[in-house]
């Protein structure tokens, strides 16, 4: 039943800001359904309901449905649960693919049967819509990086892998997909116990608590603006892609079972990747690119606490591959894991290709020696000093940059890891040239062997796609096992850790402390540089490949370059005056067309592709103004609008309007901190002569000073600044009267003004009501004898429904509220001879107290509440 519910929430609540999540949610839910195989009726029911929704989502994106149907036709005629297919959606079909991977008994035959066919369709699809597939590469790569190598089924849960990255950002909208994941992922992780390695179990264990934190969060997102349909199309494909690739890979590997052959295509992919990624990724989905650098780092960090199971899957593969290919060493599988770790460590220390080459040479020597004297399996590689390998200049190697450089610096001799290249290299085209040719070569080879219909071009696309899922390489061995009964048995009987040629969690465990320590060592300056270079590489890639829109990236490149140079100049000299900078040249011109954007504090120079230009911001403001959502969502959106305005240095009526709007919302919600920020900006804007609701805000600031800052000097100066005209304004007059009432303590006047407050004046007064009431009751209980009727207090102190027209019930409500309030403040209430409640003033005069506010939090800002934080949006 819960499956159904989660599916529902998924679709009624699309999350446009996070393009990737929704589909993942679908994917996972359906996977869960498939696992409960006997519930196929339920599953098919859900899937069919899914189908309807998906279709509505993707209308307009016709390509999608075509790709699905292709797949359905090819991939599933022989499937065990093909009875589902007629009724179910396309999504349902593709998601059932991963299922076969981890339900060994059923999937065995099935997978081999299904495996051979899909590639045809996929490749056709890719041909048709290359942009979409390659586009998703970027988001995939960081997430899948951490997939546990040995588990094939983990592919179907890409979201979980990415979670550490995304959770770093305050993005509660993820909460739902995650939650579903947790729900749905539990059963599979337990059910196919044989298939799931120990590391996977650990992996889930690790994930679960995180997700449970989000669990209680009530679902709240309903927003979706028309423009966001675009990201929507992307997402289903992405999920789809994830699920289907394994099939394709399997097919490749099943046909060419020799490790050499099936690995080669994977090698070639990165270079093709580069091209693919660069071509389409940025124009269509700017957020992904911009998010990546940060997500990247976060993942690096997230890796260390995540435990060994989360350490990169590529480690083991990348180790075995170079050995197998380049150094003509014995079968990589025969190496102890600790040796792999050792080699990996050694390579991680290398800064450039030259070093890497020398490192490799010395490694080769060491390993050959070890093999010859038979110590290769006995030696403790974990403690083997790296200095023996890195005698070149270990000292020069910054420890902080080590993990990154291991990703960044790809030597041709270490191709397997080059799938990182498109992400890391700043000059991918120069470097990838040789690999590209190999790619073509293998492409031809593949194409011959597998499918005659494919052109080499299409093959490249396939590779591009495979390249987008680096984890698959890591899982090659695992997949191999799944496909060959013998090996699979070994896998299930032993475990991934026991198998020497599997990616070993042992060596990963060894690496983990290394990574974590390296990360902790990372100094901020280095980190910053790296971040810069990382974001720069996207610019370059973008600039290279965006044929139709070259000028813009170039400009942005130029800007970014200038910014970087400036930064360097500042770093170096530190003496350059701020005034000397040409800010105009550095000002970003946004190109983003999305109306909705989450606020994220900039940690580097703004990316033009993520910054919305003025006209879009105007729409965004309207959207927020009309939005029925809660304040936290609005605040977030307005902050992002403000940020975009700031980075583009827009100072005009729109800026004033945005700040005014935000200030009003903040007042409405009683968020004084945000209100103050807006007000101080507004003061600057008004001082610049920008028109706005000057008087309205003059009234607010008067009220604020009167009621909250309690600073006589400030009050005097702001009063003396009011012009004659301003004093005639209704709102300002009201504010001045409130001030008079407050300074004299005239509570009757105060609550009368409270009821007649114009604009949002009452919102500011709200925050003083409590104090005023307390003051009034204190005054009265000191001065009046013997009693005061509660009804009078309720009327004078502005409790609900005391207005003259609201008779009867309302009055009683106000009285009840009033007596509650009085009791809460320690007043002594008695019934008089008529049975009416009266305040015993003499008794009360000594017993009154100000209770602690109920919503008080230890850190003083109730808007920083954890639950609020998660429910934002």
């Amino acid at each position: 039943m819960w499956v159904k519910i989660t599916v529902d929430t998924r679709h009624t609540r699309p999350l446009p800001t996070r393009k990737t999540t929704p589909t993942r949610g679908i994917q996972i839910t359906t996977v869960a359904i498939n696992n409960n195989n006997n519930n196929s009726n339920l599953a098919s029911h859900i899937l069919s309901s899914l189908q309807g929704r998906i279709k509505t989502q993707t209308t307009g994106g016709g390509y999608q449905s075509t790709s699905y149907s292709n797949q359905t036709a090819g991939g599933y005629p022989s499937a065990d649960y093909s009875n589902q297919t007629p009724t179910t959606s396309n999504q349902g079909n593709y998601t059932s693919n991963p299922y076969q991977n981890y339900t060994p008994d059923a999937a065995n035959i099935h997978s081999s049967a299904a495996a051979a066919t899909p590639p045809v369709h996929y490749q056709q699809n890719y041909q048709q819509w290359p942009g979409y597939y390659s586009q998703t590469e970027v988001p995939c790569a960081p997430g899948t990086e951490k997939l546990p190598a040995a588990s094939a089924f983990s592919q179907s849960f890409p979201v979980t892998n990415e979670m550490p990255a995304s959770s770093g950002q305050p993005a509660p909208s993820y909460a739902q997909p995650w939650r579903q994941e947790t729900d749905s992922s539990q059963p599979p992780s337990q059910q196919p116990a044989a298939a799931v390695s120990a590391s996977n179990d650990a992996y889930w264990m690790h994930q679960t608590p995180n997700q449970q934190a989000y669990y209680p969060v009530p679902p709240q997102n309903h927003y979706q603006s028309p423009l966001e349909t675009k990201p929507f199309y992307e997402t289903p494909i992405q999920g789809h892609q994830r699920a289907t690739y394994p099939q394709e890979l399997n097919s490749q590997s099943s046909i060419h079972q020799a490790p050499l052959t099936y690995r080669q295509p994977t090698q070639t992919t990165p270079s093709v990747d580069t091209q693919r990624v660069s071509k389409i990724q940025i124009p269509t989905n700017p957020r992904i690119a911009s998010n990546l650098p940060s997500g990247y780092t976060k993942m690096d960090k997230g890796r260390s606490p995540a435990g060994a199971t989360q350490t990169p899957a590529y480690v083991s593969v990348s180790m075995s591959n170079p050995k197998g290919h380049t150094t003509a060493m014995p079968e990589p599988g025969t190496f102890p894991k600790s040796l792999c770790g050792f080699v990996e460590r050694a390579f991680a220390r290398c800064k450039d290709d030259k070093e890497k080459a020398s490192c490799q040479a010395s490694l080769k020597k060491i390993i050959t020696e070890a093999t010859n004297d038979g110590t290769i399996n006995t030696r403790d590689w974990d403690t083997e000093p790296l200095s023996t390998v890195l005698n070149t200049d270990v000292t020069n190697t910054e420890p902080s940059s080590a993990p990154i450089s291991s990703l960044q610096n790809k030597s041709p001799t270490r191709r397997p890891k080059s799938r990182w290249e498109p992400l890391v290299e700043s000059k991918p085209f120069v470097k990838s040239a040789p690999t590209f040719t190999t790619g073509v070569k293998f492409g031809g080879w593949n194409h011959q062997n597998e499918n005659n219909k494919k052109s080499s071009d299409s093959f490249q696309k396939v590779d591009a796609v495979t390249g987008s899922k680096p984890s698959y390489y890591a899982q090659d061995s695992a997949k191999k096992i799944f496909q060959r009964p013998v090996k699979r048995q070994r896998f299930s009987s032993g475990s991934s850790t026991a198998n020497d040629n599997d990616s070993s969690s042992d060596s990963e465990k060894d690496l983990t402390p290394y990574y974590s320590s390296a990360m902790s060592l990372a100094s901020s300056a280095d980190e910053k540089k790296r971040r810069d270079s990382r974001s720069k590489r996207f610019e370059k890639v973008q600039g290279h490949s965006r044929g139709n829109d070259i000028p813009k990236p170039k400009i942005s490149n130029f800007r970014r370059g200038t910014a970087l140079r400036l930064g360097q100049d500042l770093d170096e000299s530190g003496s350059r005056a701020v005034e000397d900078m040409d800010w105009d040249a550095l000002t970003v011109k946004g190109t983003c067309q999305e109306i909705e954007k989450r606020y994220l504090r900039l940690t580097s120079a703004p990316e033009p592709s993520t910054v919305r230009p003025e006209d879009v911001l105007e729409k965004a403001l309207l959207m927020v103004q009309d939005s029925p959502k809660n304040y936290l969502y609005k605040c977030d959106q307005l902050k992002s609008i403000r940020q975009d305005l700031t980075v583009q240095r827009i100072h005009n009526h729109l800026t004033a309007k945005v700040y005014e709007t935000h200030a009003r919302f903040a007042l409405e919600a009683g968020d004084l901190t945000e209100y103050n920020q807006c007000l101080s900006q507004l003061k600057i804007l008004y001082a610049e002569g920008i028109e706005g609701c000057t008087l309205e805000f003059a009234a607010y600031s008067l009220l604020y000073i009167t009621l909250h800052s309690n600073n006589n000097r400030e009050l005097l100066s702001s009063m003396s600044r009011l012009s004659k005209e301003a004093k005639k304004d209704e709102a300002v007059r009201h504010a001045l009267s409130v001030r008079a009432a407050v300074t004299s303590g005239n509570y009757v006047m105060f609550f009368r003004l409270y009821k007649t407050a114009p604009n949002m004046n009452s919102c500011l007064m709200d925050l003083y009501v409590e104090k005023m009431r307390y003051k009034a009751v204190t005054f009265m209980s000191r001065s009046c004898r013997p009693t005061i009727p509660v009804s009078y207090l309720a009327q004078v102190l502005g409790f609900a429904g005391t207005s003259s027209e609201g008779a009867g019930e309302k009055e009683i409500d106000g009285m009840e509220e009033c007596s509650e309030w009085l009791k809460a403040h320690g007043a002594s209430l008695i019934a008089d001879s008529n049975g009416d409640m009266v305040l015993d003033t003499k008794a009360s005069s000594t017993s009154l107290f100000m209770p602690e506010p109920e919503d008080a939090v230890a850190h003083g800002d109730r808007y920083l509440d954890v639950n609020d934080f998660f429910t934002r949006t």
């Binding site: 006589n712 005097l716 009063m719 003396s720 004299s744 509570y747 009757v748 005054f779 001065s783 009693t787």
Partner: protein, 413 residues
């Protein structure tokens, strides 16, 4: 500008340089003061400025002689400042003067005795005045005025130079007063706190040791600060000290002190004589005092409205507004006295109706709820003794001293 020949210019500059060096070497403070005070617009300085504008290469003249070049840095900046000042480029003048002042303070630090204290005062004064003028120029050019702020930090530096054990410490209060003036002008009075703390708590300073004029100025400004804080007894003490010790012939200064002292005294229930207000031309307080005497709420409100801008600017508006309660007290007392005349037995019962009627006569419209609220406040603040019977809408006054006088104590909060 009178024509100045090259030779004449050379002569004037050399003369000035000679006099400066003599003043320093003979430790002639008054001479040095005269040489430095720009704002005095003395003919000798004006003629020097003209000469400098003709004879552009004054710095080479300074370098020529070993005697002059000892103070080369001081003099070069001073000349440049004077030059700019003369041609009306006040921002430039300020910038050069700032450099001069820094060099001068550096030199002053090296002089063992405090002989040049007076000259330092002149420098402190001039830089403040010059900064104000420069800011005016900047504002008129549409730029943000920031020179006074800069002058403030320079003065703070000078304060640091003087705040020591030596004989120079008596100069600290003068600089403090200049700082007060700067901060009050800038509206950053909270910055005063640090100097005040060091003056009042540091052991090196003995307040009585400072020159009288500085003490008066200091008390005036700290008294004003207390007015802002509505700490009336303290403000009373400080302003009264200033009034007692200031030069009785300086009417302007006395007026300035009274401007704050009168509202403070009023808040403490002490009403000045009309002669005092007349003598020092403090007409704006006339009606306020009158209202207090008569219990005429309307008059007080009118007076406040009439002089609102002035009171807001000087910062006494809120203080005067608070006098309203005393006016109410006076009004109640009047009603009580009138009631006593007609019916002494029931005079101690003030009906809210009656009070509302009295206020209506003053053209102040209040309903019973509001009147009750005011009475509640009066009783709470001990301006009226008694209690309010809510049911019967009557204020029952205490038989004994129903309207206690403040007698120098502030209205309890």
């Amino acid at each position: 500008m009178a024509y100045v020949s090259m030779g004449e210019a050379h002569r004037r500059i050399t003369e000035y340089l000679n006099r400066f060096c003599d003043a320093v070497s003979y430790q002639d403070s008054s001479m040095l003061c005269r040489l430095l005070s720009f704002s005095s617009n003395s003919p000798s300085l004006i003629s020097l400025a003209d000469a400098l504008n003709v004879f552009q290469d004054a710095s080479s003249l300074i370098r020529q002689s070993e005697k002059f070049s000892e103070y080369g840095e001081i003099l070069a900046h001073l000349f440049r400042s004077l030059q700019s000042y003369r041609v009306g480029n006040l921002v430039e003048a300020y910038l050069a003067f700032d450099k001069f002042a820094n060099a001068f303070v550096q030199e002053f630090r090296n002089w063992e005795s405090a002989w040049a204290l007076e000259a330092l005062y002149v420098v402190c004064y001039e830089i403040r005045i010059l900064a104000e003028k420069a800011d005016k120029e900047l504002t008129s050019n549409g730029k943000s005025p920031e020179k006074l702020k800069a002058a403030g930090s320079l003065l703070m530096k000078v304060f640091g130079v003087l705040a020591g054990k030596g004989p120079k410490r008596v100069g600290a209060l003068y600089v403090t007063c200049q700082l007060f003036k700067t901060y009050f002008k800038l509206g950053t009075v909270n910055l005063c706190r640090s100097v005040i703390r060091s003056i009042e708590t540091a052991r090196i300073f003995d307040f009585e040791e400072f020159p009288r004029r500085d003490k008066v100025t200091y008390m005036y400004y700290t008294g004003r600060l207390e007015v802002f804080n509505e700490n009336f007894p303290a403000a009373d003490t400080k302003l009264s000290y200033a009034l007692q010790h200031c030069n009785p012939r300086r009417e302007r200064n006395i007026r300035m002190i009274l401007k704050y002292l009168i509202p403070v005294k009023l808040s403490l229930g002490i009403i000045p004589k009309d002669e005092l207000l007349q003598k020092y031309n403090l007409h704006e307080y006339m009606n306020v005092v009158q209202a207090l005497r008569k219990g005429d709420l309307r008059l007080l409100r009118h007076a406040l409205q009439e002089h609102e801008d002035r009171f807001l600017r000087s910062g006494v508006y809120l203080v005067l507004e608070k006098l309203e309660l005393q006016v109410y007290q006076r009004l109640m007392k009047k009603i009580y006295i009138i009631q006593k005349l007609s019916d002494p037995a029931r005079a101690h019962q003030l009906k809210l109706e009656v009070i509302a009627k009295a206020l209506r006569w003053l053209e102040i419209d209040m309903d019973l709820d509001e009147v009750e609220c005011i009475m509640t406040i009066l009783i709470y603040k001990n301006l009226v003794k008694g209690y309010l019977a809510h049911k019967s809408k009557v204020v029952v006054l205490s038989k004994q001293d129903p309207f206690p006088k403040l007698n120098g104590k502030p209205v309890s909060s």
